[in-house]
């Protein structure tokens, strides 16, 4: 019985964690697939989202949802500027330049976060109506995490429908498949990149803010979580929506299970499994070999 209870809470927590990981990482997968740009600074947008929501709720007294949407919009806008001013200059550059540039951005973000919020971890205080527990199937679950799962599910559904059904989605899929061809039939890929980048960053901000209760906000967040975002994207496959979804669920549940049952090994198994998987399929589970 105790085993079963452990299993249920592991699955629940892993699901919440996986959902957050997915919302943060999906933008990274799409932008990397679109532009072939190695953006290690993606976690910066997630951190910005988390900190902004906490500020909005505690300093400005905004309600949770309003703070969430505002910070998402702010981060999306800021990332659009960054993309136009800096990222776009490096699309043709080598991998090393992109890696160095984005690490530089992380350093800057870490410094700014430390100046603004100090070095101690900051957690989000859930809104009142999401405090406490909700009873479901005869068991009780933390309401806030339940809300995180539901909210993420809605986002994911909206995103998938958007990419499958809208004109923008068709253009993105075309550009991922064959950028030169997409350009030659008149798709403005530059604008497409900017919009997609902003959307991905906005989603990362939402994910960071939603997950601020699972992953504490610290100034070194973009460095510490980077490996997880990259694992999700690389085992899922670049440029896909479903790949990182599977990756995020695997990592979310796997990592939670390892920490619950074999805490003495830390994150060892997650890394080992990632290595094994990448050796078997270097392009990721759903990625296509180039």
């Amino acid at each position: 019985m105790e085993f079963l209870s452990g299993l249920v809470s592991t699955l629940f927590l892993g699901l919440a964690y996986g959902a957050v990981l997915y919302v943060i990482s999906v933008g990274l997968s799409v932008t990397m697939g679109l532009m072939g740009f190695v953006n290690l600074a993606h976690g910066v947008f997630a951190m910005a989202g988390g900190y902004l929501v906490i500020t909005g709720m505690q300093k400005l007294g905004l309600p949770w949802l309003a703070a969430l949407l505002l910070s998402c919009a702010a981060v999306a806008l800021a990332s659009m500027l960054l993309e136009r001013l800096l990222y776009s200059r490096l699309y043709g550059a080598g991998e090393l330049e992109q890696v160095l540039f984005t690490i530089g951005l992380i350093f800057v973000a870490v410094a700014v976060a430390r100046l603004a919020y100090g070095t101690n971890p900051v957690f989000i205080k859930p809104p009142e109506f999401l405090e406490g527990q909700t009873r479901l199937f005869g068991r009780s679950f933390p309401s806030y995490r339940l809300a995180v799962i539901v909210f993420s599910a809605v986002l994911i559904a909206a995103l998938w429908i958007g990419l499958e059904r809208t004109r923008w989605g068709a253009m993105v899929r075309a550009a991922v498949d064959n950028r030169a061809m997409a350009q030659s039939i008149g798709i403005d890929t530059g604008r497409l990149f900017t919009l997609t980048f902003a959307l991905g960053s906005g989603l990362a901000a939402l994910g960071g803010a939603l997950g601020a209760d699972l992953i504490a906000m610290t100034p070194t967040y973009p460095f510490e979580q980077l490996v997880y975002f990259l694992i999700v994207v690389s085992i899922g496959g670049l440029g896909t929506l479903r790949g990182p979804f599977i990756g995020a669920l695997l990592i979310g549940i796997g990592d939670t299970a390892c920490k619950y049952w074999v805490p003495q090994f830390g994150a060892f198994f997650v890394y080992a499994a990632t290595m094994a998987l990448l050796l078997w399929r270097p392009q990721g589970l759903l990625g296509r070999a180039h």
């Binding site: 991998e95 540039f101 951005l105 994207v233 080992a272």
Partner: protein, 331 residues
């Protein structure tokens, strides 16, 4: 003009002459000058020398081999821990310790390189990160051997060659690091100038063409990776020997990132970039980071962005451009 040619020769692409140039004695003269003129800076000096050796090893894979890695601290840290464990359990004699650490890190480099060099791009980057994280986890959890998060304190190190005891002022430590760096520099310099070094540059510049002329690309890169890992391990062992301490910080992503920053700051793909970068970076950090760590981090970040946008050759690249322009005007 003469100066430009000397400096230019330091950035060996392929076929550069292997003959020593007068300017190449400068770093060693400077290093000795520091020993005699600035005895209170020897601890920092030893650390700079160690990082130069580490940066040299990285230049071999990142600069010449074009293998973008963010996990070179794995080999540095592995060497540091190997030296610590060896000194604690076998003998505190530093020279066998160096050999053991170099071989251990080299073997790890061979085993992991054989795996990661089969991939490229994001998967490769990801694997280098994952390997560092795995080594870190092992070092942090296997506390009976590694001391866990406390690290290994007061590692017993006996005098070098049984003659030179490590003193409180760091004099022996400094000269010991300098001697090992000299050997490491000579090795890297010879490798870069050798036909093997040219083949390695070839795999970076045009992988497909190297395959087409029948060059064993994978094997060349694996040898370079193993050699580089061994050198990084030796650098790590130097840190253990001179500080008599190993901690988890030698295995962090921060260190992997910092060493890349140092190399790029000095100038990648040139041997003396690995000298200039760590000196400038670490001396600046010694002054600035104590006063305001936040602004130091901010500065490093901005510096990286600026280097990528405007000065891809690093400091030596800028010097080259300036000297070249001055020489051009004279002609």
């Amino acid at each position: 003009m003469d100066f430009a040619r000397h400096l230019g020769a330091a950035e060996v692409g392929y076929g550069g002459s292997a003959r020593l140039r007068p300017l190449e004695f400068l770093p060693w003269i400077l290093a000795l000058a520091v020993y005699f003129l600035a005895p209170s800076y020897l601890a920092l000096g030893s650390y700079v020398l160690i990082m130069i050796l580490f940066a040299l090893s990285l230049d071999l894979v990142l600069g010449y081999g074009g293998i973008v890695t963010l996990g070179h601290a794995a080999y540095f840290g592995f060497g540091a821990y190997a030296a610590g464990v060896f000194a604690t359990n076998a003998t505190g004699d530093p020279l066998p310790g160096l050999v053991v650490a170099g071989v251990a890190a080299g073997l790890l480099g061979l085993a992991t390189g054989a795996v990661i060099l089969r991939t490229h791009g994001l998967a490769l980057l990801m694997l280098t990160l994952a390997i560092t994280s795995i080594v870190f986890e092992v070092a942090s959890q296997w506390s009976s051997v590694t001391g866990g998060s406390d690290g290994m304190h007061s590692v017993p190190i006996t005098p070098v060659l049984g003659l030179f005891k490590f003193d409180l002022f760091g004099k022996t430590a400094y000269l010991y690091c300098l001697a090992v760096l000299l050997a490491g520099w000579w090795l890297v310099r010879s490798v870069v100038h050798s036909p093997f070094g040219m083949a390695l540059s070839g795999t970076r510049e045009n992988d497909a063409r190297m395959h087409a002329i029948g060059a064993p690309v994978y094997q060349r890169r694996l040898i370079a990776y193993t050699l580089s890992a061994a050198l990084a391990g030796v650098a790590g062992a130097l840190l253990t020997h001179t500080t008599q301490f190993v901690g988890l910080s030698v295995l962090t992503f921060e260190l992997s990132g910092e060493i890349v920053v140092m190399l790029v700051l000095g100038g990648i793909r040139r041997i003396y970039g690995a000298f200039v970068g760590p000196i400038v970076f670490l001396v600046a950090r010694d002054y600035l980071a104590k006063q305001s760590p936040e602004y130091w981090t901010l500065g490093v970040g901005l510096l990286l962005v600026i280097i990528v946008m405007f000065a891809r050759g690093g400091i030596l690249g800028l010097v080259d451009a300036l000297v070249g322009r001055a020489a051009g005007r004279k002609d």
